[in-house]
């Protein structure tokens, strides 16, 4: 038993990566007649990682992200997350629009929206947030969901990562 436990601990601690960046996720859904119009998502990146990013993103040092800086972030950082599905996973195919980065309280915020080509009933919709590499830990707490649509926030225990899923009812 002890042998088995030791082997399991060693194996599992190896196959899991571990997070070094923490991102809070704030999802918000726009609906019309129970159909999803758009999903707005905000990420707030932890202050330590943000400090690294601000050093690079805020090239003119004015404490704000202007249009040119926003385009740079979008091109060099945010768009590259496409291969990770922007850490945003849904059953339905979506398009990402309206990317906007901000600096608030020394933290970097990413705002973006998801739009869908098909009509989706809110009751058929759920979203999951995770990084399969688990270099980034997505944090979704109940209080981060700011709306009255009934929903449920659950943990996701992937084999190699940990994340959250929000289901609407």
């Amino acid at each position: 038993m002890f042998r088995l436990l030791t082997i399991l601990i060693f194996f599992f601690t190896l196959i899991y990566a571990h997070p070094h960046t923490f991102m809070e996720v704030y999802p918000s859904i726009q609906t019309q007649n129970n159909t999803i119009k758009q999903v707005d998502i905000k990420w707030i990146i932890d202050e330590m990682t943000s400090s690294m990013l601000i050093m690079e993103f805020d090239s003119n040092g004015d404490g704000k992200i202007d249009k040119k800086e926003n385009n740079y972030i979008n091109k060099n950082y945010f768009s590259t997350l496409k291969e990770f599905d922007y850490y945003t996973h849904t059953k339905q195919k979506y398009k990402v629009i309206n990317f906007k980065a901000n600096i608030k309280n020394n933290k970097i915020e990413y705002n973006y929206s998801l739009v869908f080509s098909n009509k989706i009933n809110i009751k058929d919709f759920s979203m999951s947030f995770y990084d399969t590499d688990f270099f980034v830990s997505m944090v979704l707490k109940e209080q981060f969901v700011k709306q009255n649509i009934p929903h449920k926030v659950e943990d996701i225990d992937g084999d190699y990562y940990f994340g959250y899923k929000i289901t609407y009812k």
């Binding site: 599992f12 997070p19 400090s51 690294m52 050093m55």
Partner: protein, 247 residues
């Protein structure tokens, strides 16, 4: 499995909280209250290191398998596990400090991208080194089948294991150090990196102790086939290296 996932969640959430605590306190270090806040930051950095290394990676698997595969006559006290754990933590931290300062003062731009790329690059080199160490342990086991061991060989493989497991810089240490540099708290940044590595060393040492305990358990069943166990640990270390290389 469910318990393990719960543990990973707990470890992740603690790190999320500690990360926030450290960043807000490093910022608040000023002349009036610097000693108290600095000591608090260092204590939290120690705790952060302890928990951070309890999560995946940091060479625990390699250390665990290394000690679980050592033959009976090669086993020393638990002190060896601490020696190995702290050797890895020291190399891990020095590697992180060198990478951080190099990236910050030489490259400056695209830090975050370079930070992740550098990590991936060194991880690949380290994977190859882990495979070599595994093969070396297999070779040692083969030779030990015929001869009694020589202390020098054991020491050599011990340092090889420590180096290969520790050479990948810890992004956690890099982040704290860089954040301190940006806040112009250079000394506190380096001290935080050191105290974090002391915490990590303790956790990695525990992995070594688990390996020794495992070895003691199996001694009852494998009195005369210790070299097989040693060979098996070498094979597993090679597999870990292959897994890391492809991940």
């Amino acid at each position: 499995m469910e318990t393990y996932n719960l543990l990973i969640k707990k470890l992740t959430m603690w790190q999320y909280e500690l990360n926030h605590f450290i960043s807000s306190n490093i910022k608040n270090v000023d002349d009036d209250s610097s000693i108290t806040i600095s000591l608090t930051v260092l204590a939290i950095a120690f705790l952060y290191g302890l928990i951070h290394a309890a999560g995946p990676g940091h060479g625990k698997a390699i250390v665990g398998f290394y000690f679980s595969g050592q033959r009976k006559e090669e086993k020393k006290s638990y002190l060896q596990a601490f020696e190995m754990g702290y050797l890895i933590a020291i190399i891990h931290t020095i590697s992180a400090l060198i990478t951080t300062f190099s990236l910050y003062f030489i490259i400056k731009t695209m830090f975050y991208k370079n930070f992740r790329d550098t990590y991936d690059y060194i991880l690949h080199i380290s994977s190859v080194m882990i495979i070599i160490v595994g093969l070396y342990i297999i070779y040692e086991a083969y030779k030990n089948k015929k001869h009694k061991d020589e202390e020098t060989k054991i020491t050599k493989s011990k340092f090889m294991v420590a180096f290969t497991a520790g050479v990948v810089p810890c992004p956690g240490v890099m982040t704290i150090t860089l954040f301190s540099i940006i806040q112009h708290k250079y000394l506190l940044g380096i001290l935080s990196a050191i105290t974090m590595s002391i915490g990590m060393g303790l956790t990695i040492s525990i992995a070594g102790i688990l390996g020794i305990l495992f070895n003691k358990q199996t001694d009852k069943f494998t009195k005369n086939i210790g070299y097989i166990l040693q060979m098996l640990s070498g094979v597993i270390i090679v597999l870990l290296g292959l897994f890391l290389f492809n991940s």
